[in-house]
């Protein structure tokens, strides 16, 4: 049976793509906030996702870029400091990798690659170890400290793509294509799920965050595997859904991006968004 067919039959196409659509709107809105200024003269957010000012008052700074600057031996001025604090506080409370699924435009590229893999039935490839991201994260900070420069920012596809979109810079199409090609041909969910140090840091930040997916109706599960198929971090589902090593129905793994695709595709309505303290379940 086609992926999510039961969910589409029961909830309609819109219902079975609800969170996906909302995420795309969210990702687009973030870009529009930055682009309404240069396009229409309506300045809502200035800068880019590395550091920005919202409505000319609220500073926001990406904690990963900030951390690299610290590692390179420079203590940024108060505005960047406050900005990083704001972002850290938000993702610490709401959910670290919410950034990956709801904000970062790279997610659109890697989702597209995953979709293309599924549609064309590409199975093979060489997937790196999922801990690689932490080594890249640590390594990038070490290299910054050693060289006194933000070395990772030379190649960081996340900031390169964000910057190019917001400032209309050329030259990043190669980066987009490289990320797509890697995820499509070499490693399923390779970049976001295994290598990206920025996502890794957000994951660490949101380890105890509040917003969670719960497999609250896990007794209804008919093992159709649709949620595993669409999940960008499939290893996070099992503990909650199958009580593997935990009783709680909550997906507590720090690498759950709260994308809500499992909620969308489930024909049995097993999953739901809830908060960290909601332990209700039907089994």
């Amino acid at each position: 049976m086609k992926l999510a067919q039961e969910a589409i039959d029961k909830k309609g196409w819109l219902g079975a793509h609800r969170w996906l659509i909302l995420r795309r709107i969210s990702q687009l809105t973030v870009l529009v906030l930055f682009l309404s200024g240069p396009w229409f003269g309506l300045w809502l957010a200035k800068g880019n996702l590395a550091s920005s000012v919202f409505l000319d008052v609220l500073p926001l700074t990406d904690p990963y870029v900030f951390l690299q600057t610290l590692a390179a031996g420079f203590l940024p001025a108060s505005s960047a400091l406050i900005g990083a604090g704001m972002v850290v506080a938000f993702y610490f409370l709401i959910g670290g990798r919410v950034y990956c699924a709801w904000v970062c435009p790279v997610n659109v590229i890697t989702d597209l690659a995953a979709w293309a893999r599924r549609r064309l039935g590409i199975k093979g490839g060489r997937v790196p170890d999922a801990h690689s991201r932490y080594w890249i994260l640590g390594g990038s900070l070490l290299v910054a400290a050693w060289s006194g420069s933000l070395v990772w920012e030379w190649v960081n596809p996340v900031t390169i793509i964000q910057r190019s979109l917001i400032f209309g810079l050329g030259g990043s199409l190669t980066v987009v294509l490289a990320i797509f090609a890697y995820d499509f041909l070499v490693a399923s969910r390779g970049w976001c799920g295994h290598l990206c140090p920025q996502g890794a840091l957000y994951g660490l930040l949101g380890d105890v965050a509040l917003w969670r997916v719960s497999a609250a109706r896990r007794a209804q599960c008919n093992d159709c595997m649709d949620c595993f198929t669409v999940c960008p971090e499939p290893q996070v589902i099992r503990p909650a859904l199958k009580k593997a090593g935990q009783e709680s129905p909550l997906i507590l793994d720090r690498n759950c991006t709260a994308c809500g695709r499992c909620i969308d595709v489930c024909g049995k309505q097993v999953f739901t968004f809830t908060h960290r303290f909601d332990q209700r379940s039907d089994s």
Binding site: G47, A50, P59, A77, D129, I136, W154, V155, F167, G171
Partner: protein
């Protein structure tokens, strides 16, 4: 392929330690290898790119280049702050360090806003917030690099670079020189003074030639430096009030008493002149 050590794999490891541990260690080695490899690649890319091309100037108040590359968040807030679209973020794959702000004087020079909005916009301090007077900015240094094409050097009165200089008569002066080609005209040579030049680039922008004869480049690239122990005699003399080695004995040059040297101009008596220059100029050490 994903080899996250999960609780159940740990249990398995207790039953048959060798394969579980080997898988775990292999996973760590692979992850560490990937991490090191990617960062090494980044480092190798970063090294050659660290040198910006000479035409890429930094915004006012920028820290020196190594400090700037540690401090700049690549956010582009300075670019948004610039009212004249002078600043641009360097694109990925270009010659300048990707994502950092640069401007090219010949395209759009810095207009030297009094309130320096680009510096105010910088959230990290890569552009020093202590810079309050744009006259103290040192974005680069203008160099009249081509004496063969500069119209003033050819004896014309172009003067455009001098006229547009926002720090006119301080950062740029016209120095009058004898024109040896016509032997009867002056050349007014545009002369840059590094003590005042902000490197805004308006001179380069306005040079009337198809290719500018005056160019603004990063200070490090163009400014010389005297050895620390060098003293200029005339400055020392002024500081001291008189010559430090006492007055010199004037020696006559036998057979040359009536002649001027180094000065071929006619003086008002119609004879080949004597002053200034030459042996009778009255110059004393």
């Amino acid at each position: 392929m994903i080899s996250n050590p999960r609780p159940e794999s740990a249990k398995k490891a207790a039953v048959s330690p060798a394969p579980g541990r080997r898988k775990f260690l292999n996973g760590i080695a692979a992850a560490a290898g990937t991490g090191c490899l990617l960062n090494l690649a980044a480092l190798m890319l970063a090294r050659p790119a660290a040198a910006n091309p000479p035409q890429a100037l930094r915004p006012p108040g920028a820290l020196d280049e190594p400090g700037f590359l540690a401090a700049c968040l690549r956010c582009g807030l300075c670019v948004r702050g610039c009212p004249y679209n002078t600043l641009k973020l360097a694109p990925f794959g270009g010659a300048a360090v990707a994502g950092t702000p640069v401007f090219t004087a010949r395209d759009v020079p810095c207009e030297m806003c009094e309130d320096i909005p680009c510096v105010k916009a910088c959230p990290s301090g890569a552009l020093k917030h202590e810079l309050k007077d744009i006259g103290e900015a040192r974005m680069g240094l203008a160099v009249l690099s081509d004496h063969e094409t500069c119209l003033n050097f050819l004896g014309l009165r172009c003067d455009v670079c001098y006229r547009v200089c926002p720090v006119i008569d301080k950062a740029m002066t016209l120095e009058s020189m004898h024109n040896p080609r016509s032997d009867r005209h002056a050349m007014l040579l545009p002369t840059v003074h590094s003590a005042y030049c902000t490197g805004c680039g308006k001179c380069e922008k306005s040079c009337v030639l198809p290719v500018a004869a005056i160019k603004v480049m990063p200070i490090k690239l163009v400014q010389g430096q005297l050895p620390a122990h060098y003293r200029k005699g005339w400055e020392e003399k002024e500081k001291h009030g008189s010559s430090l080695i006492g007055d010199q004995v004037q020696m006559p040059v036998r057979g040359m008493e009536d002649k001027a040297f180094g000065d071929s101009r006619l003086n008002d008596t119609g004879k080949v002149g004597s002053a200034p220059g030459g042996l009778n100029s009255g110059w004393k050490p």
